[in-house]
Amino acid sequence: MYKILKKEFLNPTVVRMEVSAPEVARRADAGQFIILRATEDGERIPLTVADYDREKGSVTIIFQVVGGTTEILRHMEEGDCLADFAGPLGRKTETEGLKSVAVVGGGVGSAIAYPVAKKLHESGAYVDAIVGFRTRDLVILEDEFRAASSELHVMTDDGTYGERGLVTEVLENLILAGRKYDEVIAIGPLPMMKFVSLLTKKYNIKTVVSMNPIMIDGTGMCGGCRLTVGGETKFACVDGPEFDGHLVDFDEAIRRSAMYRDFEAHAREEACNLFKKEVE
């Protein structure tokens, strides 16, 4: 069993959880993911590694409450145990040789972009961090990003915090202002990664995106996570989860990610009802 060591809400729907999983922590690295089941009858869901502590034997995950499992997870407390926690899966982020990078995070994806920014910053690279959120209440990890970047831009769609606008606007401004990036790393909602990739393609800057499609096993067995990358079918779990943003067919990925949307909403509602019942 995998004990929850620490749990905190980063915003009303985003939770950070540190989980005891010594075997996973041993080899975990930025860019990789784990598969968990919250309870014995639960579904398997993939979540990207947000942090790890090899000495303590813990792995940190950050998730947004979207479906039944994340709703159940949100109600689990420190000291509770997750039924299953397997990994690390997928390939790690390639940061070697990068000297100047823009790390772009969107919403809960910022949580995944953060360890990448941190790793690059620690290696001595110049890091522009650009993180975008819908509104002020949803802003997460601002202090962490500030400490892990050379320059930080916090954006909100509605202008209630930081700069008003989209991450692509500020990224384009920086490029036009003469910033030279070896690479742009974009992690966030599919539409955000799509538009960052379209922008950087225009300026011919290599761009890496982190895909988080629907999957079951995470080891190449189900094929549910398949994507079209450069005209070829790839499995995000074993070939990724990071891919060249200029080659990913985002429209297909967006469509495939919505396959069980009705079910997810329903499952979350059911989980909510369950918890309401228990509280009464």
């Binding site: 075997e23 996973v24 041993r26 080899r27 089941r37 009858d41 639960g42 579904e43 398997r44 039944g68 499992t69 039924a83 299953d84 926690f85 397997a86 990994g87 690390p88 899966l89 079951i216 096993d217 080891t219 190449g220 067995m221 189900c222 094929g223 549910g224 398949r226 994507l227 079209t228 079918t233 074993v238 297909e252 469509r255 495939r256 919505a258 396959m259 069980y260 079910f263 997810e264 499952a267």
Partner: protein, 460 residues
């Protein structure tokens, strides 16, 4: 007195019209009376041709003689002497092409129902056992096994029986491999698999789930941890696709994904937390046992099902029994049919196929399917399940220095499972590509004998 009936005792079964709406087991199993009656059909031949037909050499006439006398526990002991998973084998082995194909009674009539008797004995033991088999005394040697599927479990069972401390590392959250994620409940109930695995645990086999060898722990680290030998039975889990347009539309599944959702995650149950698309009309592509499993599972989730196969009924690689069951349950077959494109606006709406004909036999005697020009036709459907085969997962080989693989991904191993790495054996689908449960079990057993010999040889 021998029972000279030319026919097997019939297997009691659920009615097709009822069973196509549930996931309960199709075959219900013999009663004790039926088992004894069937056992009496065995002539107890001195030449024992049936044993030669069994990849794990079960002492068939001996166990059947026990059944005939009503000594079912005695029969169980004889079977488990060479077979670690009898309730599984009794259900899913292709007996018609193995033990039963060699049975003398099959010359004039039907062979003895060896598989049905094996299943009866294993089920009897499960229901009536009072205690687990005792754990043998440890010999102090540690062996690691990668993958808790048929080959790994078989290898583990034999080594544990010899006193080895065996640890099986499994990537998924439950043991069983294809027995748990692939073969459906109505053919092999999860409880049966679990019970057989519990027997192995009682023998001392430790199973560690959620460990992906090659990711969580490396093969080399296993040796550092004191394991003296490693057996890789990681199976052939990578699904193949046809590489035709439209394959990434929503509601196109690999059979692996479809069956994993249904079997491993229980998505057919209303209370399951794992979703599955409930199709109105599913098209299954392929003609093997997995295609039959997918078709029959889709049928049970409420779909009309059409199975398309590019050759004719005679070439279907699936077991005859599975094909018959699928037909009885209302699965429609389109033979000499090969898909060329899946169409739909975001999700599957119809599939376009070519009609095929079989060529004249080539030098190898094989008749290849050839496209008939301008024969395209459409099948309206809202789900497509690709069951055209799987290949070995490259994960372990790519993470292990010096472990040679074939160009198609199979791990290179000799007849007894020895790989290019010292003290590393491999067997089952990881070596051969997708085959049967019993062949994988045979490979696991053979490797276990070799591992025993190698470790004992080193320690003399």
């Amino acid at each position: 007195m021998a029972n000279m009936s030319p026919k097997k005792n019939e297997m009691p079964q659920q009615d097709p019209h009822i069973r196509c709406k549930n996931f309960d087991e199709v075959a219900l199993g013999y009663s004790a009376e039926q088992a004894i009656d069937e056992a009496k059909r065995c002539l107890n031949c001195k030449t024992r041709p049936c044993v030669a037909g069994c990849p794990v050499a079960v002492k068939i006439p001996e166990f059947i003689a026990c059944v005939a006398e009503g000594d079912f526990e005695g029969a169980y002991k004889i079977i488990t002497d060479t077979n670690s998973l009898p309730a599984v084998c009794g259900r899913v082995c292709p007996q018609e092409s193995q033990c039963e194909s060699k049975c003398v009674r099959g010359i004039k009539g039907e062979p003895v129902g060896i598989g049905r008797l094996e299943r009866f004995v294993a089920d009897y033991h499960m229901k009536n056992k009072t205690e687990h088999t005792a754990r043998p005394e440890s010999n102090g040697h540690k062996v690691a096994i990668v993958g808790a599927g048929p080959s790994g479990l078989s290898c583990a069972g034999f080594l544990a029986a010899k006193g080895y401390d065996v640890t099986v590392f499994e990537a998924l959250h439950v043991a069983g491999g294809v027995l748990s994620y692939g073969i459906p409940e109505f053919r092999l109930p999860g409880e049966v698999v679990k019970s057989e695995i519990d027997e192995l645990r009682a023998l001392g086999v430790e199973i560690r789930t959620n460990i992906i060898i090659g990711k969580t722990i490396m093969i080399d680290e296993l040796f550092e941890e004191g394991y003296e030998a490693v057996f890789i039975g990681s199976g052939a889990g990578l699904p193949k696709f046809m590489k035709i347009p439209g394959e990434n539309l929503n509601n196109v599944y690999s059979a692996n994904e479809f069956l994993t959702r249904i079997n491993l995650m229980g998505a057919y149950r209303d209370d399951s937390k794992t979703p599955i698309f409930h199709a109105k009309h599913a098209v299954v592509v392929g003609g093997g046992n997995v295609a039959m499993d997918a078709a029959r599972s889709a049928r049970r989730t409420g779909a009309e099902v059409t199975l398309v196969y590019r050759r004719t009924e005679n070439e279907l690689p699936a077991r005859k029994e599975e094909v018959e069951h699928a037909m009885e349950e209302g699965v429609k077959f389109e033979f000499l049919t090969s898909p060329i494109e899946i169409h739909g606006d975001g999700k599957v709406e119809y599939i376009t196929c070519d009609r095929m004909r079989l060529s004249d036999p080539d030098e190898s005697g094989r008749r290849r399917p050839v496209v008939i020009e301008n024969s395209e036709f459409d099948i309206a459907c809202d789900c497509v399940i690709m069951a055209i085969g799987t290949s070995p997962n490259p994960l372990i080989a790519s993470a292990t220095d010096g472990l040679d693989t074939q160009s198609w991904g199979g791990i290179v191993a000799d007849d007894v499972g020895k790989t290019s790495r010292d003290m590393v054996w491999a067997g089952g689908d990881a070596v051969t590509g997708a085959a049967t449960v019993i062949l994988a079990m045979g490979a696991g057993k053979t490797a276990a004998e070799e591992i025993d010999r190698a470790i004992m040889g080193k320690n003399q």
